[in-house]
Each structure stands twice: as C-alpha cells, then as structure tokens.
Subunit: 282 residues, 2 copies
DNA sequence: AGCCATCGATACCGCGCGGGTATCGATTCC
DNA sequence: GGAATCGATACCCGCGCGGTATCGATGGCT
C-alpha cells in the first residue's frame, strides 16, 4: 500500500465526495475514482458504498480511515524528524515542546531553566497549540515532547513522566455570589445558572452540542469568564495568570490534575532523554 | 514520501550494502541507488555516507531508519486490519491475542472463558510468539491485543489495563542445593555458579553478550534448567506448568510482575472494547 | 412526467518515472 | 599493477498515473 493511495482514500473518506476530495488533492476526479477502486481491488475489500448521490464508509472503510490516518501521521513524522535531525547537526532547533496555550507556565519555565543549565543541553522551542492538539503534534513529528494534563488529555500511545499533581479551582467572574466563598463543591459549579461550562473542541476539531460557548484556548476562556458568560474549573496553577475581573475559589472535591511530560514511544533522541532526565530529577 | 522509498531506504540502511539490499528487495542495484538518492534530494538530507567500499548511516539516516520502520509498521497495520475488518463481517477471526509462549496460561484461560460468555463476543485467536515480539505484532497489525508482563515487556506506545500482580520465584534444577530452601534472596540467585541467567533476544533479534545460554521461548528455558545449564527468575504462575526435574523457590525481594492487557492506542474495535471490559470487571 | 443538474464510472491518451541492462570510476586486496 | 568489488551513471523500455471527454444513474424542480 502506497502513501499516495492512503492519502487519496483518506481524503475521499473524510469528504465522502469524490469531487470535493479531488479538488482538495489538487487533481481531477476520474483518476481519484480509479485509484480508490484500485486500492479496493488490491486489498480485496470494498471500502466505500457509492451511489451517484452519496458515498458512505463500510466497516472496513472506517477501519482504514483510522489506521490510515495513523500511518500517514507516522510517515509525516518520519519526514519531519529526519529533516530536523539533519539540520540539528548544523543549526539550532534542538527540541520542540508543545503545550496548551496558557497552561502552567511557571512549571514549564522552571523545567526549561533547569534543562538549559544541564551540560549538552540544546535549545528548546516552545510551541503553543489549541486544546487537544498536542497528541497530534507528537504523532506527526511537529513536536518532540508535550506537557499534558491528566485526566483531560489522553496519553494513549505515549511515554510519559509525571511532573506534578495539583488540585483544581473554579474561575468565576469577579463579584459572582460564590466568589467570596472559601471553597465550593464540584456539584455547586458544574451547572451554574447563566454560567455554563464552555465547550472545548474534540480531537477531530468539532464541538460537542450544548449550551456553553465554544472555546479554543485559555485567552478566549478568561475573556468569556470576565464577561460573565462562562465559568471554568481549572488547575490551581491558573491562579498565576489571573487577570482582573476574575475570581478564584478552590474546589477540593474536583479530581486532581496531573501534569505529565509526554513523548512518542520510539524516540531515540539524546536531547529528549536529557530533558526527561532533568524533569525527573526535580 | 512514498512507502516504496521508505522500504528501499530501510533495506539499504539495514544491510549497509546496496547490492544485498537490492537482492533482498528483488530488484537490480542501479534503480535502488537512484531511488535512495532521489529520496535524499527530496528530503534535502544526506542519509548515507558512501564510499565504494562501505556505506554508513548519518545522524539523519539513523533517525529515518527508526521512524521509517515505525511508519512502515503503521502502514502494514492499516493493510492487515482493513482486510480483517472486511472478513470479520462475513467470516470468523474476531480478535487476535498474542502472548509469550507458555506464560500465565490459567489467567488467559479464565479471561477467554469470561469473554466468551459475554453477549456479542467474537472468537479470539491466540497467537504465541517469542519473547519481546508482542509489541511488534501489535504495531504492525498481526495482533489486536497482547498479554504483557511488566517490568519485562515495554508498554511504550500502547494502551494498557492491569490484570494482576504476582511475586517471583526462581526455577532451579531439581536437586540443586538451594532447591530445598523455603525462600531465597534475589542476590543469591542472580550469579549462581554454573547456572547463569539465560540471555533473551533484544527487540531487534540479536542477543546480548554474556555467559548464559541463548533462549527464545520458555520450552527451551525449562529444558535448559532441567539439564542443569541455567536458572531463571519467573512469575509465580510459572509453577502451574512445572515439569519434573525442576524445583521452584520463592524470591520475595524480586520485583513483582504485573500482567497487563495491552492494545494499540487508536483501536476502535467493538470486539476489543468488549474484551477489555470483561478483563477489567474481574 | 419530463428535464436538468449532479456525481461517480468509463474510455482513451500522453508522458513521466520506475525498473531493466551495460558500463564506468574508485577503492582495496593480493 | 591487475583484478575484484561496489556504488554511480547512461540509456532504454513499458507501465501507470494523471489529464480530458463522456457516459449512465439518480434525484429534484417545475
């Protein structure tokens, strides 16, 4: 199976429309139809049910969609990491660390400072991304290592090292009735009247249905809270970047949040190993 | 990057010899040279240092060797799992579970019995493989789920569910001086005179250097112990398949062995989910 | 009911590229 | 110094990929 065929099939499976998929791939529709048909013949499997009005995935087709995406990510990762390895001998970008925009910045700063002091440390680029995008960044080679937050992020398929665990607090608009309390229970803040929990993107980029506002990063989130349109339960370290207009109250019965360092399992990079070592020594 | 190019490069990188690699790939040497050169040009990276007498990997080349193997495994997995998904609608092979030949068979039997009693259970093929091959089997799609034993096996890049934890025992030839003891300490059996620890294959198939005999599976191991040529520290469940000529003594200070069910992280199979559910309910 | 728009499949064509053979140039060993 | 080894180069052929033109089926609109 060639990556070209996989790319074609994934495009069609995502669009469920040969014409659109062909446009996305920058090619004409007929060769795309042929290529997918040929892939099916070679696999001996029907991947798509076509009528002239609709295209749907078969059982096998949805398996190949998931597996094919993973395989294409792996190929992309091979490409990117090879290129990076080549310039790393000559140039600079040693490691790329990805984390959610605006999360636990003091911990990260401490880690980077400690690592920079190590002998043989390389430069670490910090890449900020939206919620739930880190895993993808690691899998397709755009990043080498990530800061994840359990239980929100999934560490499926990654090697991890636990860094710290902290309780959670609720972030409210200043002046909210609960904002003067010493602490609140989780049940009190999950369904606050007029302050719904915001909806965060799922891994595929879509948003779940519901009443709350859609939120892509923490800047949006804080602004919405300050505007009195949302509330959020976040790790304690969110206090650090608290802006005026926001109040914070501990939520002792909320599940603890664990910050972990995560990286793809077969990494053999000395630089990454060094970073992990300094992280564990703290 | 096409999988064909990756396959070619991996072959050359493994053989470090264009002629042999070409023979392995069933093609002539010149087009192979050209294809690898073209890959280097497209990546903008030199992967191999060639003289007319030797071929060596560059830094970037060894990165691409590791990453490329992973990517090729992912593509193979996509192929195999798609084929399997297609026939699973019509035919039988529902899940393939892989475990080390001759390990914790009662636990496995119980799990399979419990799962078979579930509604909607599919048939589970059990695949036995040599030591350290399970991870590969999962990654390239030959198996859907594995029984692994921590801390011996690595669960890097896999989702896992803990099944049970047990102590370890040392297996000795019957009649060995230590075989009558109620228990022994780990230090007493790590360097037994005349009974070295056997050498097990590394993930790449080679064996570490050392004095002990090479061992691929537990049948070989038990035979070697009975012959008085080796000893081994194994989980308690090894008692179950004890043959005459062998003695077993607990080793309380040896690290506990945890048996885990492991599967590739992005599996979306209902059958696998069912198996994991029955495993966790025990 | 009939027409048309939509969409995937088919037919056909041209060229680029992958793979083959022959040969070269460099290095090493006897 | 000659021969053997090994990767690179030169050249050629045929397949396959991608293009355009068109067909056939389906569904909506009047």
């Amino acid at each position: 199976m060639e990556t070209r065929e996989l790319r074609y099939f994934v495009a069609v499976a995502e669009e469920l429309h040969f014409g659109r998929a062909a446009r996305r791939l920058g090619m004409a529709q007929p060769p795309l139809s042929r290529a997918v048909a040929q892939l099916e013949r070679r696999l001996g499997v029907t991947l798509l049910e076509r009528t002239s009005r609709s295209v749907t995935l078969t059982e096998a087709g949805s398996v190949l969609l998931a597996e094919g995406r993973a395989a294409l990510d792996a190929v992309d990762a091979a490409d990117r990491r090879t290129r990076r390895a080549a310039v790393s001998g000559t140039g600079d970008p040693g490691l790329v660390l990805v984390t959610k925009a605006g999360a636990s910045s003091e911990l990260l700063a401490k880690l980077l400072d400690a690592y920079a002091a190590e002998p043989g440390a390389v430069t670490v680029d910090v890449l900020l991304c939206g919620i739930g995008e880190q895993e993808r960044m690691l899998r397709d080679g755009r990043a080498d290592v990530a800061l994840l937050h359990l239980p929100f992020d999934s560490t499926a398929g990654l090697d991890t090292e636990e860094l710290c665990t902290e309780g959670q607090v609720v972030v409210l608009p200043a002046g909210h009735p609960l904002s003067t309390r010493a602490e609140v229970r989780l049940a009190e803040v999950t369904a606050l009247p007029g302050l719904p929990e915001p909806r965060r993107p799922r891994p595929d980029g879509t948003y779940p249905d519901g009443p709350g506002p859609q939120v892509r990063d923490s800047a949006q989130l804080y602004q919405l809270i300050a505007l009195g349109r949302a509330s959020a339960v976040l790790p304690e370290s969110a206090r650090a970047q608290l802006s005026p207009g926001l109040a914070v109250v501990p939520v002792p019965d909320a599940p603890a949040v664990t910050t972990v360092l995560a990286w793809p399992p077969h990494s053999r990079s000395r630089a990454l190993a060094g970073l992990v070592r300094t992280a564990t020594r703290r």
